[in-house]
């Protein structure tokens, strides 16, 4: 049972963290375009959009890599869960307001739909599982401190 649990936690960590690392890598080549996609959500004041566009991929990259490696696992999961909750809220309000926009999630030109919201909710569930379950045995957190698991 423990091996199954460790395997599930490791899979959730690697898939979720990997998705965020990939998402960051698709945005970094053209942050100017990403800024326009954020602006189209019409959630942030225009003056704050450039700062959000510049920092968000870096946060995704740092938290995603930490989750994949199992370093400060719970803290990384908390950050990604907060981002996913914000994405679900932002997408939902845009769809409810009838704003037709590109998702901006993984670069490219994917249109935001309720399917995008559902995908983010599945990712959020995986993130919450890691937040609750911890890093699991196959992580740097556990390898370095096997007897006293760190909170993060």
């Amino acid at each position: 049972m423990t091996a199954w649990r460790d395997g599930a936690l490791a899979a959730a960590r690697v898939v979720l963290g990997g998705l965020f690392v990939w998402a960051a890598c698709t945005k970094l080549p053209d942050l100017s375009l990403f800024a326009e996609e954020i602006a189209n959500y019409r959630l942030l004041p225009p003056a704050l959009v450039p700062l959000a566009a510049a920092t968000l991929p870096g946060i995704e990259l740092a938290a995603g890599a930490a989750l994949v490696l199992g370093v400060w696992t719970r803290a990384a999961a908390l950050v990604l869960d907060a981002l996913l909750a914000a994405f679900v809220g932002g997408l939902s309000q845009a769809l409810l307001r009838g704003i037709d926009l590109r998702c901006g999630c993984f670069g490219g030109s994917d249109t935001a739909t309720w399917g995008t919201v559902a995908r983010d909710l599945v990712m959020l569930a995986a993130g919450l599982a890691v937040l609750a379950g911890g890093p699991g045995a196959w992580s740097i957190d556990k390898r370095w401190r096997p007897r006293a698991a760190p909170p993060g």
């Binding site: 053209d30 100017s32 225009p46 870096g58 803290a75 990384a76 909170p151 993060g152």
Partner: protein
């Protein structure tokens, strides 16, 4: 979870956010298409300078909101040959003058559209413009390009007249990319 563990978790989360933000700012500063931090970015249909506000478009409403590009950024992209330009106006207007290197692609199509699209495939970013105010012509062309698989299609924030007024590079003559097309000037 005890209070000290919760505090530790929050501190580590804040550290990840701070480190990630610093990383993002550094990568933005070093990136090829960085976003200027001091310049506000407006939604596609909310800019006071937008020539393509959703409510201003004439004719059939566009199904998509396209990103825009300012004339200053577009002039830079033109000089660096880092973007392909599409002129959505009529053939007469195109022949009289257009952005240097632009491909002629009006909303109703082009006799040699395949050649025009092949020329544009050399570029990652495509800028579509017109001189119609409200982007009546540029919008449907941008929709069509997106449907053809061009991921980064932008509408010029102003018109070709504004482009020439700001000293943007322009030339006259027929569309060089559409070498097989004997288009009718209209």
């Amino acid at each position: 979870m005890g209070a000290s563990r919760l505090a530790s978790l929050l501190l580590r989360s804040a550290a990840i956010v701070a480190a990630g933000s610093a990383l993002g700012l550094a990568l933005n500063a070093a990136g090829p298409h960085r976003v200027p931090l001091g310049t506000p970015v407006y939604a596609a249909a909310a800019s006071g300078t937008a020539a393509c506000g959703a409510g201003e478009a004439e004719g059939a409403p566009s199904a998509q909101i396209h990103a825009r590009i300012s004339v200053a950024d577009a002039v830079g992209a033109c000089n660096a040959c880092s973007a392909g330009f599409v002129d959505a106006r009529g053939a007469d207007a195109f022949a009289h003058g257009h952005i240097s290197g632009a491909v002629h692609l009006p909303p109703q199509g082009h006799p040699d559209e395949a050649a025009a699209l092949a020329e544009l495939r050399h570029f990652r970013t495509i800028v579509v413009y017109d001189d119609a105010g409200g982007c009546r012509l540029a919008r449907p062309v941008a929709d069509r390009l997106r449907a053809q698989g061009f991921a980064d299609v932008r509408l010029l924030d102003m018109t070709f007249t504004d482009w020439t007024a700001t000293g943007g590079p322009a030339e006259s003559g027929a569309c060089k990319a559409c070498q097989h097309g004997a288009e009718t000037h209209r």
